[in-house]
């Protein structure tokens, strides 16, 4: 059985090539592999093809930094910390990025099909929406559905009269990303993965992907995780690389460990209304620090401490969140 390698973040991210298709664990501003996002930007990856059940702060950063060639997802925003992903919105409005809009279930089904080794899955979701309007098949209009790219199907979707009840249903093609990067609370030295809290679409995105990088707050002994196998999510043979990196999800949140840094995300949103604003932000927080350790030092303990979760609740009980 293949064993995952425990490596540095620089080494893990260094395995990803320009043009690769990527997806990520997590949901909107929770449990995103942000340290890997910063490292992808630092390593100046180009023409990445993102396929995501939903996006968030992380993909808006990659888009702002010019790392992304194609974005396929249902959403990009920052929850209550910012109305939408400014970088993505700007590049879509200016025609500077190829994108394909989907509903949650569409992308979830594409990755579930990928995880199960099937060519497609059906769904009734979003029938009658403009996401299925043939005029909005942007990859098709760009001439990319000619079979030359293994990640782009011949059709965006197929409307199909299924044979059992003769009802119309939407078939969406499988997606098998080259890489999935997932941040978790705990991983065993042999790759057994444990996630606390909501699992989102992690099982589907990880299993659909050809290679997996698991970034964990802590690498622990296998024996410890195998005392309670019902709490574990994945066996180690699905994992290629393991990186141990506490706080690696900052500024997004990590159940039971820390909150999203809402102020940081809101400031990112404010700063990135223009490309110049994003570039300045990236110069300070990504290129202005040598690595993630220096980023954490720059953030400082007084900023990070109030984000830490109270173990009895799974979230912080000291962080000031509202106006009262």
């Amino acid at each position: 059985m293949a064993r995952p390698k425990i490596v540095s973040l620089t080494e893990a991210v260094g395995q990803i090539n320009d043009g690769d298709m990527l997806t990520f664990g997590g949901f909107t501003v929770w449990r995103r592999p942000m340290a890997a996002i910063y490292e992808l930007i630092r390593q100046k990856k180009r023409n990445l093809h993102l396929v995501e059940v939903n996006g968030g702060t992380h993909d808006d950063m990659l888009v702002g930094a010019g790392c992304v060639g194609i974005w396929e997802s249902s959403w990009c925003g920052h929850e209550l910390y910012g109305k939408f992903g400014s970088n993505l919105a700007r590049k879509i409005e200016k025609g500077e990025i190829l994108y394909e809009d989907w509903a949650h279930i569409h992308v979830l089904n594409r990755l579930t099909a990928g995880a199960k080794g099937l060519p497609f899955l059906p769904t009734y979701a979003a029938m009658g929406s403009d996401m299925l309007n043939p005029e909005n098949d942007n990859l098709g209009k760009a001439g990319l559905r000619d079979g030359s790219n293994p990640h782009i199907g011949k059709y965006k979707y197929v409307m199909y009269k299924e044979p059992f009840t003769d009802s119309e249903i939407v078939l969406v093609p499988a997606a098998n990303p080259d890489w999935c990067i997932t941040h978790v609370q705990m991983v065993g030295a042999e790759g057994t993965v444990r996630v606390d809290g909501l699992k989102f679409s992690d099982l589907e995105v990880i299993k659909a992907s050809k290679h997996n990088i698991i970034i964990a707050e802590k690498v622990v002994s296998e024996e410890y995780l195998r005392r309670e196998p019902t709490r574990n999510m994945l066996p180690g043979y699905l994992v290629d690389y393991i990186v141990e990196l506490p706080w690696g999800a900052h500024p997004t949140g990590l159940y039971g460990v820390h909150e999203p840094d809402g102020e940081f995300i809101a400031n990112f949103f404010k700063a990135t209304r223009t490309q110049e604003g994003f570039d300045k932000w990236a110069d300070e927080w990504i290129f202005g620090v040598k690595d993630f350790q220096e980023y954490l030092s720059k953030l400082g303990i007084t900023r990070l401490e109030p984000l830490k979760a109270n173990p009895s609740l799974g979230y912080s009980s000291t962080l000031k969140r509202g106006s009262r």
Binding site: V29, W30, N54, G55, S73, S74, W75, C76, G77, E79, L80, K83, F84, G85, L88, A89, R90, E93, D101, W102, A103, H104, L108, T123, Y124, A125, A126, M127, G128, S129, D130, M131, L132, N133, P134, M159, T165, S167, E168, I169, G197, L198, K199, F200, S201, L203, E204, G253, Y255, E259, P260, G262, A309, L313, G314, Y315, R321, G322, S323, R324
Partner: protein
């Protein structure tokens, strides 16, 4: 009569309070409810504290029937999972949605049209201003038995339009792809038809949909007239069925919003 059950008077509540309470009143006890970040969370919590104590809240991130003691700031917030029955993931809850188990869903949007189609992708179509995209909005509007939209309207008539400029989420009358023919939702969805939009709650009134799937004014919020509501729509709104004024928040509901549900002032500022 318990004085807390009395309705507050104009000047004693903000537009946001009325919006949350009007939305809360859409929930019937025992219903399975999907709610999104922000006002929908407040609405379901008010309902659970008042007329619908056994209503179950599902968040699209996978949290089912949580009992949050602190207001979540997103549907994936750790607070959503506090005392939850199940904390799983999207495949589970969207599967339940598709199989018709969700009674009611709350949604928002940038534009809504005569047929309850919702736009949260582009203002002005695919060459216009880009928004967040669909998220769960489209799936939920497609597949819940009823959905209730919470939308700002006053001074923003371009948000209430005859046809949305991009259909993110399908209403009662929708195009059939790829032939583009406009047909009733029931015809497109066939055996998967569960229902559709049942109300739009704005800062001016409560709107519902008639037998043809067209929007009409049901009640008007205190301080506005039916004509005001029509003037704040970009189409000829049907005001012939208006029943009267929307009930104001009770003192109990206001207390719940500010003291129990959002004492930190995250949304109820």
């Amino acid at each position: 009569m318990d004085s807390k059950k009395e309705y507050s008077k104009p000047g004693e509540f903000k537009p946001m309070d009325l919006l949350a309470c009007a939305a809360a009143r859409e929930v019937q006890d025992g219903e399975i409810v999907f709610a999104g970040t922000g006002l929908p969370m407040l609405a379901i919590m008010v309902a659970q504290h008042t007329q619908a104590p056994t209503a179950v809240c599902i968040y699209e991130s996978g949290s089912i029937d949580g009992k949050p003691i602190d207001l979540p700031t997103s549907v994936a917030d750790a607070r959503c999972s506090y005392q939850a029955a199940v904390a799983d993931g999207l495949t589970d809850v969207f599967g339940q949605l598709q199989s018709g188990k969700v009674d009611l869903a709350y949604l928002g949007g940038a534009e809504v049209d005569l047929y309850g189609n919702v736009n949260c992708t582009f203002m002005g179509g695919p060459t216009g201003k880009r928004l967040t995209g669909s998220g769960g909005n489209s799936d939920i509007h497609s597949l819940a038995k009823r959905s209730v939209l919470i939308m700002p309207q006053f001074g923003q008539k371009r948000r209430f339009v005859e046809r949305v400029s991009y259909i993110t989420s399908p209403g009662w009358k929708i195009p059939h792809w790829p032939d583009k023919e406009w047909v009733p939702k029931r015809e497109v969805y066939g055996p998967a038809f569960n229902g559709g939009p049942s109300a739009v709650i704005s800062d001016m009134g409560v709107y519902r949909f008639d037998e043809n799937g067209e929007m009409y004014l049901d009640t008007v919020h205190p301080g506005f007239t039916a004509e005001d509501c029509r003037e704040n729509c970009s189409f000829d709104l049907n005001i012939s069925r208006v029943k009267g004024e929307t009930l104001t928040p009770t003192y109990e509901e206001l207390d719940l919003l500010y003291k129990t549900i959002d004492p930190e002032g995250i949304i109820m500022k």
